[in-house]
Structure formats: C-alpha cells, structure tokens
C-alpha cells in the first residue's frame, strides 16, 4: 500500500497519481496562487473533469479543485460497501420537507472524478422533446439548447467513454453505433427482458460506461458487481480515468483535498478567483474565469456562501433562483423472488433497460420514466427490506437468506420543477466553518402519479415474468438537478445557454444543477455533453473577445 490519500494531497510536486498503476505517477504542470489562470474549476466530476480536459486541450490554463482525495482504483478500492463510503459526500447536510432526500451514495461524490467514480455507468441520451418540454410536451421548462446540437455532443462523449451498447437502440432518432459491443446479460437482466416481452414492450441491453473489450490501459469488465462502490479494475470509464488524465496531459492542474469555500468578486460584477482550503490553510487562487461544478447541492451552496454587499442574496442570484427548483429523480422499485437462483450481485447492476414509458405519451400525468435491472449488495438490500417492508428481527434475518433468489426492477423517472423544493444555507457550520446545505423536498401530485404508474407497470412486468412475493420500494430517489438552471431569460434562469451567469459574466456553472428539467433517464451523459458544448462555446467566446 502507498500513501493515505486522505492524509495529504497527492497531486503536488509536479506530479499526479497515475490511476492505472499502483503507486504510479504522471507529470503535472502546476500554477502558483498568484498566477492568474484562465480557469479555476470547482469540482472534477462529470461537469468539471470533462471541462478541465477540453479547456486545457484548447490551450487555456486550468486549475481544477476537488474537496475529495485522488484515488488510484487498483490500490485504493476495496470490494466492500462500507469501506467505499469514502467516495461519498458524507459531510453534514440537513434534510427536511414532506419527502426528505437521503443524501449519500446515490447523489453525491467527494473524490477526484466526482460521483462518476461510483455511478452505475448507465449512459442514456435524453428524449429530444425534453429539451423543449414546455413547448412540445406542455410541462416543465424549455432548455436554451436544441436536441440536434446535443445529439452531436452525445456522439462525442459516447466515443470518449467507449460506451458499450446495442447495435440499434430501440427508442428515439437514429444514433451512431456504440463504440463497444454490449455486455452479456446476467440472470436479473433476463428477467427484465421476459417481463417486457410479456407486456409487449421493447427492451435493450443497457448502454454502459464500462468497457466490454480492452481500451488503452483499461481491462474489460470482470463483472464483479461492486460498480456503485468504485471500479477497482478501471473497466469503468469514469471521469477519473478518462477526462482527468487527458486534462493533466494537456497541461491542467488538479488539486485534490482542496475545498473551495468562496468565490471572490471585485467591486463590480466580475469574479477574481476562489478561496480554497488545502494543507490546513485557506489560500486564494487568482483566476480570469471561474467555473462551478459541484452538483446540485454544493454548487448553489457555494454561490450562496459567496454573497457580498453587492450580491446580497448570493452570487449570480438576481433571479432569486439559485438553490430553487431542486429536482430528484424518482427511484422506486418492485422486488420479488424467483424460483431460479439469480445471484444479482454478478455483473453491472443494470444490464437491461426499457425506456418504453419515456416515449409513450398515453399517460395522464407529465414526464416519463425508464426502468432497469438491479443488483443491490447486502447492506443496500437489507435497507430496502427494512424501509419498504418494515421488518426487523428474525423476520429480517430469514428474509435476507433469499438473497440469491431476489430479483427486481427500479425506475429512473422525471420529477417536475417546483420552487418549493430547494437548497438553502443552514445555521449549522461544517469543519471549514462554512454554513452547510439545508435541503427541502416533497413530491408533487404529478410526481406521485408518475410514481404510482411506474410501480404498477413494474409490478405487472415482474408478475408476467413469473416473479413471486412481490413488494414495492416506495421510498427512494436519486439524481438531482435544477438548482442553478439555464434558460433564455435572465429573469427566469440563472445561466444562459453557455452555462454562463447572467449576472457575473466570467462565472460559469456546469453540472447537473443547470438542468431546467431532469427527464426520465440517468443524467451523467447529458452533463458531459453539456460540458463538451460549454468548452466549445468558451473557445468561440474567447476568439471573439467576449470572455
């Protein structure tokens, strides 16, 4: 074992960890705090990590900060649910409201590479209409970007991550072939397929960001099934082992264990750099532009914590919408027992998917959803059983012994934006003395109708597949969005189409919080496509002297 990644920063002294080699290093260019870099990026996940690579490749000087450590998967990742909680943002946060959001592994990350380090690799495109949900489907809000343009960036990110997927995808406009062949289905995926076929619905092997053949220094996926706890073999194509190494090769600097607490602004409306905590002290990095990419809780929190006399309600908040319109995707499930041994812990958890209800509008509520195969490991499975069925004691211990026979499907659905759902600052302070986030959430009537519909449909499909002893997991949510939304109008959005603040022209936000609507699919591919687009737009703005 080499050094403790939590003890002191690894990215220092002109080098950064080589994520592909135990104890390995790669050279890294570094900047002094007093050097005014072109971009200070806060966060290195799907938004920030991707942008760091593309901006550095375009010749900009970049320093990207992450509050978490810089791991080498081969030496730092255990096959263990408990030990791998080190990947999550487990610092204090207060949750409240009618349906408080449980924060942690499903919606946060605190590591270089962000939550992609432990995401389930499901890599889906939005349905085209969702980019104009208000004008074409009559709900939510329109995005300031069109689907045709996004389609081109999806192509690019799918190539960059060597997505493994089916030859033809059953829904939506044509897309190019996925770069890598689909993964074989496990028994849990077969059950999903059987259920869909019985109901006359299409299904497909899930497009996944884990390689089905060698790629560079990454070996193909070995189907160990701990994907959501970090991939210890590097088969998963996360930001950590794709865009971040690219960023460093192109001259970007990554600073791990570096918590940004405040964005500094001048007497006018320009950001001048970021205050960050590293190596036991507060420091200040000068920057010509600042990009915030901390996801839907930390991004608004940083903007709110950066309030000044001139920006009393928080930075970039003349609309009053920073922290508002928090969305979380419904993540309910139906589980049951098979007569066959399923052993759902083998392989990526979601090897098959149906997007049927994302593309069928014969529903009496707004929004869509998909559902996919599941393979919860024992701790998560026990939590599902206790919270959904209220069981404990001998009943729980016996029920858990059916683990190898359990099977189920889980939705990822669309939640509608509402200003009542929000991220604010609490009175409580964190270890850096910064006010922590207070997160308020409750499902709307439309959300509840969508969830009911999905639970009914999933249950029917499981019954049709011959699964027995069914029960519903009614309480669960995952991916977030909406709290720093983009739009066409500065009164009703925080950012323009380029993810640039309407108020502070050299401040950008680029992560899941920019989504005006969340759609019914996992968000990472869309976040990365937006990051690729933002990098191109920044290059164009700079060329025209508009930056």
């Amino acid at each position: 074992m080499s050094s403790d990644p939590f003890e002191r920063p690894r990215a220092a002294n002109g080098r950064a960890p080589d994520v592909f080699k135990t104890g390995g290093w790669i050279p890294m260019r570094q900047h002094r705090d007093v050097d005014e870099v072109d971009f200070a990026i806060v966060g290195t996940g799907a938004g920030g990590g991707t942008l760091a690579a593309r901006l550095a490749e375009k010749g900009f000087s970049v320093v990207a900060f992450d509050a978490g450590p810089y791991f080498r998967p081969l030496e730092d990742f255990a096959s263990d649910e408990t030990a791998q909680e080190k990947l999550y943002w487990n610092d204090p946060r207060v949750v409240q409201g009618a349906d408080p959001i449980v924060m942690g592994g499903k919606n946060s990350g605190k590591t270089v590479g962000g939550s992609m380090v432990h995401f389930a690799m499901v890599s889906l495109r939005f349905r085209p209409e969702w980019f104009k949900a208000r004008s074409t489907l009559g709900y939510g809000a329109d995005w300031p970007i069109g689907w045709e343009e996004m389609w081109r960036y999806y192509d690019q990110v799918e190539r960059d991550l060597s997505i493994s997927g089916p030859i033809t995808y059953p829904w939506g406009p044509p897309r190019p072939r996925y770069p890598y062949r689909p993964h074989p289905m496990n028994a849990a995926a077969e059950v999903l397929a059987r259920g869909c076929e019985a109901m006359g619905m299409k299904w497909t092997p899930t497009p996944l960001a884990t390689v089905s053949a060698p790629r560079g220094e990454a070996h193909p996926c070995v189907y160990r099934g701990f994907c959501r706890f970090g991939c210890s073999t590097n088969a998963k194509q996360s930001t950590l082992n794709t865009y971040i190494p690219r960023a460093i090769r192109a001259g970007a600097e990554i600073r791990d264990l570096a918590m940004v607490g405040r964005i500094e602004t001048d007497a006018g409306d320009r950001a001048t750099g970021v205050h960050y905590h590293r190596d036991g002290q507060w420091r200040f990095q000068k920057a010509r532009n600042v990009i915030v990419a901390g996801y839907a809780v930390e991004s608004p929190r940083l903007l709110l914590n950066s309030a000044t006399d001139r920006h009393r309600d928080g930075l970039a908040n003349s609309s009053g919408l920073v922290g508002k319109n928090l969305m979380t995707q419904p993540n309910q499930a139906v589980y049951g027992k098979s007569k066959d041994e399923i052993r759902w812990n083998k392989g990526p958890p979601s090897l098959a998917i149906t997007e049927h209800w994302n593309y069928d509008d014969e529903k009496d509520f707004h929004g869509g959803y998909c559902w996919m195969g599941q393979g919860p490991l024992p701790i998560e499975w026990a939590k599902t059983m206790t919270t959904s069925r209220g069981i404990w004691g001998d009943e729980l211990r016996l029920a858990m012994q059916d683990y190898n026979y359990q099977v189920g499907v889980k939705m990822v659905g669309e939640c509608l934006p509402s200003e009542n759902n929000r991220v604010e600052l609490a009175d409580q302070k964190d270890r850096y003395g910064l006010p922590v986030a207070k997160i308020t959430f409750g499902w709307s009537e439309n959300d509840k109708a969508l969830i009911r519909h999905a639970l009914d449909q999933m249950e029917m499909s499981m019954e049709a597949a011959g699964v027995t002893d069914l029960f519903r997991q009614e309480e669960d949510a995952n991916h977030l969005g909406g709290t720093v939304k983009m739009g066409d109008d500065r009164r009703s959005s925080v950012l323009d189409a380029d993810c640039r603040s309407w108020d502070v022209p050299n401040l950008f936000v680029c992560d899941g919080s920019v989504f005006p609507t969340v759609g019914g699919v996992n968000p990472s591919l869309t976040i990365q496509a937006i990051a690729l687009r933002t990098a191109d737009r920044i290059e164009q703005l700079a060329a025209h002297g508009d930056l």
Binding site: M1, D76, F77, E85, P92, T233, N345, P378, G390, G393
Partner: protein, 215 residues
C-alpha cells in the same frame, strides 16, 4: 420460513484468492479487529445498546463468534463517520442514540420495573414495535419522532453493521469481495466455483464439499 444453509461456506476462505485485493484485505481485517469495548457510549448505555441489537438482528444461539453489533454502532459514532444527511427532526446520531437508549430504559422501568437489558425477548420486542409504530410517549423521548428514529437510526445502524460483516455474507450465501477476479457465469442457476453452494434438501453433502473449495 425456514433457514437456508450453505454448509461449510465461509467467505473468509477466499481471503487469499484472486477475489480479494490488498485494499479489501486491509478493510476487512480492520473490521474484524473492531474494539469490543465502547469508546463513545458509557458501559451502561452500551449494555442497553447490546440488548437492542440482540433484537434487531438476533443471531443463532450456537454461533461461536457473534457479530459484535453494538461495537460497530459505537465505533461508527466514535470515529465521526457520518451518513451525509441528517433529518432536521432528529438530533445528531450520537445524541439521538443516547436519548433513545435512556428512553428505552425509562419505558422498561415504567412497565416492568426493570432495565431494558433485563427484559425478556418478547417484552423488548413489544417496546421496540411500539417505537416503530410511534406509540410511545413521554418527555424522556425529548420530542424525537419515534418512527424516524427507529427505522432511520436504530434499524439503519444495526443492519448496516450486520450485513457489512463476513459472517452475514456467509449466512446468506453472498459471494463477498470479488476483485480482481469477478465472475464468469452470469446465467440463472449457475455458480462459479468460488461462489457459495446452497445445501438444498438432499444436496447438503455435495454443497459441503463444494464450499470447501471456494477458492
């Protein structure tokens, strides 16, 4: 329901196989070495905590080395390991547990004039079930919402500890750590030789033999 059995299966037998990497070995070694004495709770609170854990996850009487559940709950709080969220209606985890344990003793005294730890299993279960249903009252709960405390604190922490332990993995026939080897046989009713074999009726002997070779 009847107990399934995986005769002779011990996930720790795979410790030195390609299913465990160094990071896993060191994580599990540390888990098995958890200090058995409380560092956060007083010894009195700890005794009540043990009496709670014993009902949330009762372990077989003949188990030689039961999972020290209370020690894990204590260790989690002592080391400052947080969940990443706190319900606004619940105090921080250590405080919530201390209020809850004292209140359980209070309930036991009111009803049976005894400490919670000295109650029969059935009496302990009754009090816990009433907590789950939110039917307990009194200032000694200090306004904590009972259902939330029971499911999201008590059951949450105790089941996390139990199903994070190799003994529980062996009990349910879970393959356990799997890096770097992973798995090869993905279809239904197929097991890789390094997975648990179930001792279904009539197959106990075969399972016993197979489980001796999960390497």
């Amino acid at each position: 329901m009847t107990e399934r059995s995986f005769p002779g299966y011990d996930v720790l037998d795979k410790r030195d196989t390609p299913s465990w990497n160094d990071a896993t070995r060191s994580a599990i070694d540390a888990r098995l070495a958890v200090p058995r004495e409380p560092r956060f709770f007083s010894s009195d609170e700890f005794a009540t905590l043990e009496a709670v854990c014993d009902r949330i996850l009762p372990q077989p009487a003949d188990r030689q080395d039961p999972v020290p559940l209370a020690a894990y709950v204590d260790a989690k709080i002592f080391s400052g390991q947080l969940d990443g969220y706190r319900f606004d209606k619940l105090p921080p985890q250590g405080e919530a547990w201390k209020i809850g344990l004292a209140a359980l003793d209070h309930e036991a005294r009111d009803r049976h004039n005894a400490r919670f730890r000295d109650l029969s299993r059935a009496d302990r279960d009754n009090i816990l079930r009433e907590m789950q249903q939110g039917r307990l009252e009194g200032d000694h709960w200090q306004g904590m919402p009972l259902k939330l405390f029971f499911m999201k604190r008590v059951v949450h922490d105790v089941t996390d500890a139990y199903y994070g332990h190799p003994t529980a993995w062996s009990e349910i026939g879970f393959g356990g750590p799997a890096s770097p080897r992973g798995y090869v046989r993905m279809d239904k009713n197929r097991r890789d030789p390094w997975e648990a074999a179930e001792g279904k009726p009539g197959q106990e002997e075969r399972a016993l033999v197979e489980n001796k070779h999960v390497v």
